[in-house]
């Protein structure tokens, strides 16, 4: 039995501790906002926050996530998250949308640490988030817009 703290709630799961956190979230807890894109930390679609840092849940074992504070797209709150989601909506960043939970989770971490990120900061922070629809131009724009709102 494993206890995970997700979005502020404790969940007790009867699950193999080697199961990737991604599948515990999606298959056991119905938190399907965090997506499966590659399964090997190459695409970022599975990005969650673990103790405030961006982490690829496909590459985190459930057992190693015990005792940490896990936040998914369903549970992000606060000024930064709101500014990011609003900028994303204002600019219509999304196309198919499948990568966007991960993009947003990474953007939130970036802005929380660097309130006025440069393009280079954005490139570094989101280098692990793939978008096949090519929304990168708008992602950058939205992060800058969110930064301006938060300033």
């Amino acid at each position: 039995m494993v206890t995970l703290n997700i979005n502020g709630t404790e969940h007790v799961l009867d699950v193999d501790p080697r199961m990737p956190l991604l599948w515990a979230l999606r298959d056991r807890l119905d938190l399907v906002g965090t997506k499966f894109g590659c399964g090997r930390a190459q695409c970022g679609a599975c990005t969650v926050h673990i103790d405030g840092e961006a982490a690829r849940s496909c590459s985190i074992r459930v057992g190693d996530a015990v005792g940490k504070s896990i936040t998914t797209i369903e549970g992000v709150t606060g000024k930064v998250a709101q500014a990011v989601q609003k900028a994303w909506q204002d600019i219509d960043v999304v196309q198919c949308g499948y990568c966007q939970s991960g993009q947003i989770m990474s953007a939130i971490v970036l802005l929380a640490a660097k309130p006025a990120p440069t393009d280079a900061d954005i490139d570094s922070a989101l280098a692990g988030n793939v978008c096949r629809c090519g929304t990168y131009v708008r992602i950058r724009k939205a992060i800058h817009q969110a930064a301006r709102e938060l300033a």
């Binding site: 930390a41 190459q42 840092e53 590459s59 074992r61 971490v109 660097k114 570094s124 989101l126 280098a127």
Partner: protein, 221 residues
């Protein structure tokens, strides 16, 4: 340009004792061509042991993270995909922390992402990329660059450290260090006992890809 220590300690050539000492050293050098018949802590044995150490530290499992700004990846030493960088604390840029993907416990069998305690880029002082064998040797034993380690501490590090140990258990798709750890420990012992001798700009008999790696350009962006 790095200064190289002379091949033998400087000798004041005055006096017959000095001459005898020189003759003795020369004789030892001549004899020590065959390392196995020479005393264990001889310079020749030490240099030979360093050859083994160099093979270990320049193989991809080690050298891939002893890089300036961006780690390499894989047996073919390509630039790490996705793009990551050292960051201010050796642990990655904001949003792309090493621990975001790499476990601090063990390799991940589901994602094939390697993991070990203290997973990070080696400190900049331990940058080995692009070093000649002689320079690599100097870097390894220089306390200012090797984390303030003396010979004993170096042996401890190579023999016991968990992140170093990962090189022998790297997980799916990565070749382990080609020299058994026990042999590395033996070589370290020999090298340290010999006073950690370093080659001059003598080309060591390293595997061709290691030589290539030493000269390989870090991926530029």
């Amino acid at each position: 340009m790095r200064k190289h220590r002379p091949l033998r300690p400087s000798v004041n050539p005055s006096g017959w004792l000095a001459l005898l000492a020189v003759a003795l050293v020369v004789a030892l050098l001549l004899v020590s061509r065959d390392a196995s018949s020479a005393p264990p802590t001889s310079r020749a044995n030490g240099l030979s042991a360093f050859g083994t150490i160099a093979i270990v530290v320049t193989n991809p499992r080690c050298l891939n993270c002893h890089q300036a700004d961006r780690p390499l990846q894989g047996d073919d030493r390509h630039a790490h995909i996705p793009r990551v960088e050292r960051g201010p604390d050796n642990l990655g840029a904001v949003g792309m922390r090493c621990t975001g993907c790499h476990s601090l416990h063990a390799n991940n069998d589901s994602s094939d992402v390697p993991g070990a305690p203290n997973w990070s880029l080696a400190p900049l002082s331990m940058l080995w990329q692009g070093l000649s064998p002689g320079a690599l040797c100097q870097a390894l034993k220089d306390p200012a660059r090797n984390g303030k380690r003396n010979g004993a501490a170096l042996m401890e590090h190579m023999g016991k450290d968990k992140l170093v140990g990962w090189g022998w258990n790297p997980g799916q798709g990565r070749a382990p260090v080609p020299v058994p750890r026990s042999e590395l420990v033996k070589a370290m012992k020999t090298w340290v006992a010999a006073g950690m001798p370093c080659p001059d700009e003598v080309v060591m008999n390293l595997p061709s890809d290691a030589a290539g790696a030493l000269g390989k350009e870090p991926w530029s962006h």
